[in-house]
Symmetry: C2
Subunit: 240 residues, 2 copies
């Protein structure tokens, strides 16, 4: 069996968003991560492995360690590379708690946020079109199974926010103390870019701003990272 030149080229190309979109495919690596996708509703296109016995998939293609090393993006390749189909985006539901991301750029942050959604039972994540792609390799490796349980849609978030009938919230330094606010069960929470927060256009259509109070030296403290701020706000919505 082994790897053809075309396969090598395809897999390498999938580290770029434009080729993922063109082929409608993404790559996942490592025994645990690949098994999470195999055991989900995601459809596998090809499985390249040095040990087919580890996977409940009959059509896997055996490759050598050297071949695996050639196509792997991991420092320590771990037995398998799976090529999976990017699922069709679901219709956005207007009736459930939704987290919205406005230009979150860092794959690590998106990965952490997807895991948070999974933890808090938030199954709908709506991302602005300039938010980092959730099929980016780093996001896939960081989120693992969570990516299979959270529906992610990339869309025009201004339209979405203008049309939703649920109350809309965001984090802001001059908002209401989140610890003292009555938070509804169903809401739309918008989190913004790492450096700039939410854009002005988005800010204009949001109804309520929430503040996580600072307890440290107020003049000097750095802002919270977007993933940790999201963790705290989702916890506040869900603890009620």
């Amino acid at each position: 069996m082994g790897l053809s030149k075309n396969t090598l080229k395809l897999i390498t190309s999938l580290s770029q968003k434009k080729y993922r979109q063109k082929h409608n495919l993404f790559v996942a690596e490592g025994v645990k991560v690949v098994n999470e996708f195999l055991n989900s509703s995601f459809r596998v296109k090809e499985l390249y492995t040095t040990d087919a016995s580890l996977f409940n998939y009959e059509e896997s293609i055996e490759i050598s360690e050297a071949e695996l090393k050639k196509i792997s993006k991991l420092k320590s390749p771990n037995k398998v590379i799976g090529v999976f189909e990017i699922p069709k985006e679901k219709e956005i539901s207007s009736d459930k708690f939704t987290l919205v991301l406005d230009e979150v750029n860092d794959p690590g942050n998106l990965g952490t946020i997807i895991r948070l959604c999974d933890w808090f039972g938030i199954t709908q994540l709506v991302c602005s079109k300039n938010t980092v792609d959730c099929f980016n390799f780093k996001v896939v490796q960081a989120t693992m199974g969570s990516l299979t349980r959270v529906q992610i849609v990339y869309t025009d978030i201004i339209s979405f926010l203008s049309e939703t009938s649920l109350p809309t919230f965001t984090a802001d330094m001059d908002g209401d103390n989140v610890y003292k606010s009555q938070l509804p069960d169903k809401a739309v929470l918008v989190m913004g870019n790492e450096a700039n927060g939410i854009s002005k256009e988005v800010n204009d259509v949001i109804q309520q701003k929430l503040t996580i109070p600072r307890f440290g030296d107020i003049q000097k403290t750095e802002s919270l990272n977007v993933a940790t701020a999201t963790a705290i706000l989702l916890s506040e919505f869900k603890r009620a």
Copy 2:
């Protein structure tokens, strides 16, 4: 002026913990980060910059862009590299809210956690000796000023936990629901390793386990990242 061979060697060596400890020095880069350290109680040893006018420090050493590039660990070097003295560890106070880390390995996680401490006004962070070094370059760059406001001590955490008179807590899947627990103002909260949680020895000396309830599919959800779990628990202690 410019860079001597010895300087180059010294700065390069400081990317390793053993040389940071030998020389009692660490490196910070970039205008914003370096200024945060210059404007703190930290003492600067040397400042190498392509533009001395940006810093309120008279003894800076002007270097060329090419020299900066040679010593920088950043993809896009940003005008300055500062070498700072590692401050003497303070005595541990037994009377204030303390976060304890048991073998947190990832510099990004430690950086995020230091920023969280700063946000929540927690000025004492006690780390097990096998926790990643807080003067690791990635930690320094991620935490910026927060590192100057949070006292960090590396010690035998079992002794510390055995001796403290404050109530001790940790996160655990089989603990008390954190949303329903009465949490004291002053406490010791222990967070563990990314893959393995807290060690058995540490677990044995902790009084109360807290659980952040899952709302997602309980069978399948990945665990929370240590930094986001810390964010939620600190928020719970402070919101009361």
